[in-house]
């Protein structure tokens, strides 16, 4: 228990240090409006990272989630705009597409027994190509208001907070409870810890893995809706930075890439660390290339810490 708490304390301290640093560098950083902006900037990666965390906890990886999200956002926006579906049906349709894509990943991992890295590397490319073909690489505009509804915000004091950011926080709370307080949640850890032990304990490991990849697809669908809400369009080029940013967020959050260890809340903190660095460096006027550089350094540091702490 203490070890788990410690594993979570590290990322939290890193986040607070980063916030302190940027607060000292720029007076605009600690304003409500800016922190709310960080939350909105983080919500897409944040929701994708929930699915990524579940997959990584089982000892797998989902390299396709960002591309599946792009496919979802194109599906939703095109179903609504080009095919005249009711917006609610279009959203459901888009989420079905992403969940089915997740199911494809899960079936390839559990039935054909291919390594998750290879499976999702393949479906990443397939989802990207499908997105380009379906959309003819065109951005979908003139979306009905329901599709961008999550981009509206509620005022807390003087600070507007996007519904999407609140939705992200709610999803984290939900998955936190699922992972901690249900048998299925504990089985996610057990499969990542020792999948043979889990199987011998009577856990249907294949069904569990399939559900986890499908959930990752579903979260990609929700992220697609958030992405649409944030940009106001269906963008075939979306998801490309988010794809690997999810892995960064999960690893920065203290979840082990070897599976079986980690906390869902850590991934939220990890996503916030990435968001705070991007935002803070922008406020300081540092070019975006350096922001990417910093993210890269952070990931290597986080993985090195994970390796090192396992050996100690």
């Amino acid at each position: 228990m203490n070890v788990r708490r410690l594993a979570f304390a590290g990322p939290l301290v890193a986040l607070l240090l980063a916030c302190t640093f940027f607060a000292l560098q720029s007076p605009r950083f600690l304003t409500g409006a800016n922190l709310s902006l960080v939350l909105s900037q983080v919500m897409v990666v944040g929701v994708l990272a929930i699915g990524q965390t579940l997959v990584i906890l089982t000892g797998g990886i989902d390299l396709a989630c960002g591309m599946i999200m792009a496919l979802g956002s194109i599906s939703m926006s095109m179903l609504a705009v080009k095919h005249g579906w009711h917006p609610a049906m279009a959203i459901a349709g888009g989420m079905s597409v992403t969940t089915l894509a997740g199911m494809l990943n899960g079936l390839l991992v559990t039935r054909i027994k291919l390594p998750p890295f290879i499976v999702t590397l393949g479906t990443m490319n397939i989802a990207f190509a499908a997105t380009q073909l379906v959309s003819r690489a065109q951005t979908v505009t003139d979306l009905p208001p329901l599709l961008t509804w999550l981009g509206n915000s509620v005022r807390v004091g003087n600070t507007p907070i996007a519904y999407g950011a609140l939705a992200m926080l709610a999803l984290y709370a939900l998955v936190f409870v699922l992972l901690r307080e249900t048998a299925a949640g504990r089985h996610v850890y057990a499969v990542g810890n020792n999948s043979e032990a889990a199987r011998l304990a009577g856990i249907n490991t294949n069904r569990l893995l399939l559900s986890v990849y499908m959930l990752s697809g579903l979260f990609a669908g929700i992220a697609a809706l958030l992405s649409i809400a944030r940009t106001g369009v269906g963008d075939p080029q979306s998801g490309q930075t988010e794809n690997l940013d999810t892995v960064t967020a999960v690893v920065l959050g203290g979840t082990s890439l070897f599976g079986g260890r980690g906390l869902i809340v850590g991934s939220l903190v990890g996503a916030l660390i990435v968001g705070v660095f991007r935002n803070g460096l922008t406020l300081m006027g540092v070019s975006s290339v350096y922001q990417i550089l910093v993210t890269g350094v952070l990931v290597i540091l986080a993985v090195a810490t994970d390796q090192w702490s396992r050996k100690a």
Binding site: M1, V3, E181, T182, A183, A184, R186, H187, Y189, A190, N193, N194, E196, A197, A198, L200, A201, G202, I203, G260, R261
Partner: protein
Amino acid sequence: MMVLEARRLVKRYGHVTALDGADFEVRAGEIMAVIGDNGAGKSSLIKALSGATIPDSGEIWLDGACVHFRGPIDARRAGIETVYQDLALAPAMSIAENVFLGREHRRAGLAGSFLRLIDRTSMQREAEEQLRHLGIGIRSITQAVETLSGGQRQGIAVARSAAFAQHVVILDEPTAALGVKESGMVLDLIKRVRDRGLSVILISHNMPHVFELADRIHIQRLGKRAALVRTNEIAMSDAVAVMTGAVQSSTSGASG
């Protein structure tokens, strides 16, 4: 009373005959050791009894009824628990979680039946009680299994099987990876499991451990039971001689 009995089990893998009409029996409250050279069909026999493989022919009787296990889960439901050699524990999870892995308690009321929330407190309390009864000393039931010594881990695995077994506990080389002191601890634990009235099947290469623990010894050779002997009626060297085929023996001495 005979708790578990197998008659004329046959298992072939391609051209290899792993079990060639093997018989087996274990009584209630008895420790039955299974010894045999590599390739004698020891592990095939154990796999058939624990449901891990389905024999091509032959019968398995549990508590007076003929049973057909389609998988390890079937055997477990029937009351046969197996502790595997490579320790089927999840290292980063707590002792209590490992004890109840796959058999989690749910909370009372809607929280359990509808929301499917687990009852952590009751699982921790019961796991603690179980370990105390079996004399396994640990600091805290919530500590991760990876923080325990090899002997303690083996203890947790044995305690888990003893907690859920109604009839038989199968132990596959439980002391193979342990030092002298830790082995002693696990041997004592196995005796306590037997004293609860459970049958214990002990697969071991360690003859001193077999002779210290077992009431009877099943000697497996060439896919068959070469001998079934009472431990106090045979010398260690003779048991090894039967096992290696240097001496022929019959099973009449120890049955009945």
